[in-house]
Subunit: 323 residues, 2 copies
């Protein structure tokens, strides 16, 4: 079986590639070929029996998606996209890649006429404030960013194309991925990971918002679990509503810090420095806090049950199990 | 002030044109020019002091929307679109006109850089079954038709472009328009109007579904009222959620018939022949029944309060007040 991953050079793409190579099979079938696509070269670990091909190209450019679909991958993971901040600051780029690129990919699949499973990463950015305390699965989608708008349009096309039989889509709305590995970045949400990752590495981290801020998180490990489950799930069980809010752990920043204390001790906590940033706080106030996500849970999508687990997953997966 | 109407040759477009000519002003400013656009020539009543220009063209074709926006209409009514049944049977046409055409129009406005009020007709087709008994304003949008999908994508772009200041959009989700004047058509929803319109004209009408079927209706007169109000409403009062479910009268088919009896008498009712049609009933079962629409009412959008009023509106507006 051939699998295509777009956005394969990103953090989630790399981890998904590693997981698939390790699994060697998906949905009960052996993986024989893995096509990796991104705007920069995507890397893969050595794999026996899997032919890995890395292709560099922008999915919104002519011909790129047709080449990706030419060999009719049985499962397509569509992760490629311009991230939230960039889609907001660069209007043209966001609409071109996130909307036109996604539509081009889905249309190439439609025109190929073989109806593969397509797993699409959407985002909780499809929701916009004001919110109820807990967002139920039937809550309206009114995005307040161009990124959320573009992701939601992708969801809608995915649904309609599934209904028409052009593809067999599952859209997964990811919560904030925490703890995100790597260096601190300028994303407004960066501190959610930073206050865990940096202290665990012996570095100072800045907390720009009050500890009362509540947010929903899932580990990178859970995100990969969602993707694999979405590839394997029975479409009939999902029904016509193909886009599903993923589960996560809804906690306050204070609870995040208490988890870190329990797992790593008091000294680590001292590396978190509170430095209020009104700009970041204003942005974060428009973000959803807690989700019900009961549909996802009923369909077998699994996230951590506590933030302690999220901290431990980071230590196991990124720090070799040692602090 | 210059006003542009796309889809001006359709039933709503014609009635809106007539209303605007009659009003002579909108949002407190005199109308000096009215640009009518459609794929067939749009007609207008004689108007003193208003320069009426009719342009034939498909908004999804190159150059058409740029020409429409060239003179910078202060208010744009975007009604043009491929109807539900046709968007379902002709995939390419629906996506080309309803999605690409709408996006082209909004982009032409964006590039013109002057931020006019844009009134966009969306539809309750943005909602998909299963439904609660009454659909609240915060209910999720999961369309089950390509038409609903395309209309919703238009809503999302309208919202995002409004947020970015490219235009000042108001999207109105119309319920079923009843009593639709003219001849019977093959739309699955046609009978809702047919069972009122045909008997009032002394003709037999077929009722293909049980009398227990509940549906929400607004008269053509109310639809024009919604459009005019949407053109005049204070955008700040609307806030960031720019797409609003319009009010209507939620009644069973049996109640529709009782209204007709009260307004027009027993003999007229005898012209309704029950002839169950499983195909139509199956389609109708996926349609929403009742809406709360409290946001629209709070914002001053007004519909009829009873189906009797809807029957009387038809008699007054289409039959010269006489049965």
């Amino acid at each position: 079986m051939r699998i295509l991953i777009t956005g394969a050079a990103g953090m989630i793409g790399r981890k998904l590639t590693e997981r698939l190579v390790k699994l060697g099979k998906l949905a009960g079938r052996p993986i024989t070929a893995l096509d990796l696509s991104d705007v920069t070269p995507a890397l893969a670990p050595p794999a026996q029996g899997i032919k890995i091909r890395s292709r560099v190209g922008d999915i919104s450019m002519p011909g790129i998606v047709d080449a990706l679909i030419e060999k009719r991958p049985s499962i397509v993971f569509h992760l490629a996209g311009v991230v939230s901040g960039e889609a907001e600051s660069n209007f043209d780029l966001g609409y071109r890649v996130n909307l036109n690129g996604t539509r081009a990919l889905f249309d190439a699949i439609r025109l190929a006429g073989y109806g593969p499973r397509v797993v699409y990463t959407s985002s909780i950015a499809v929701f916009g404030a004001p919110f109820p305390d807990v967002i139920d699965d039937d809550f309206q989608q009114t995005p307040l960013t161009s990124y959320g708008t573009q992701k939601l349009i992708g969801e809608l096309i995915l649904s309609d194309y599934t209904r028409r039989g052009f593809l067999d889509g599952i859209g997964i709305r990811l919560p904030t991925i925490c703890v995100r590995p790597g260096k601190p970045n300028k994303a407004a949400s960066g501190f959610f990971s930073g206050i865990i990752r940096e202290p665990l590495a012996g570095l100072e981290a800045v907390l720009p918002v009050p500890k009362s801020v509540v947010h929903t998180h899932a580990s990178p490990r859970s995100a990969i679990g969602f993707l694999v489950h979405a590839a394997e799930i029975d479409g009939a069980a999902v029904g016509p509503r193909r886009n599903i809010t993923m589960p996560g752990v809804g906690v306050s920043v204070g609870e995040q810090i208490e988890s870190l204390r329990r797992v790593a001790g008091d000294d680590v906590i001292k590396l978190i420095r509170e430095e209020p940033d009104e700009t970041i706080w204003k942005i974060v106030q428009n973000w959803p806090t807690r989700f019900n996500a009961s549909r996802a849970r009923e369909l077998g999508f699994k996230a951590e049950e506590s933030f302690d687990e999220i901290v431990r997953a980071h230590i196991e997966d990124e720090l070799g199990g040692k602090i």
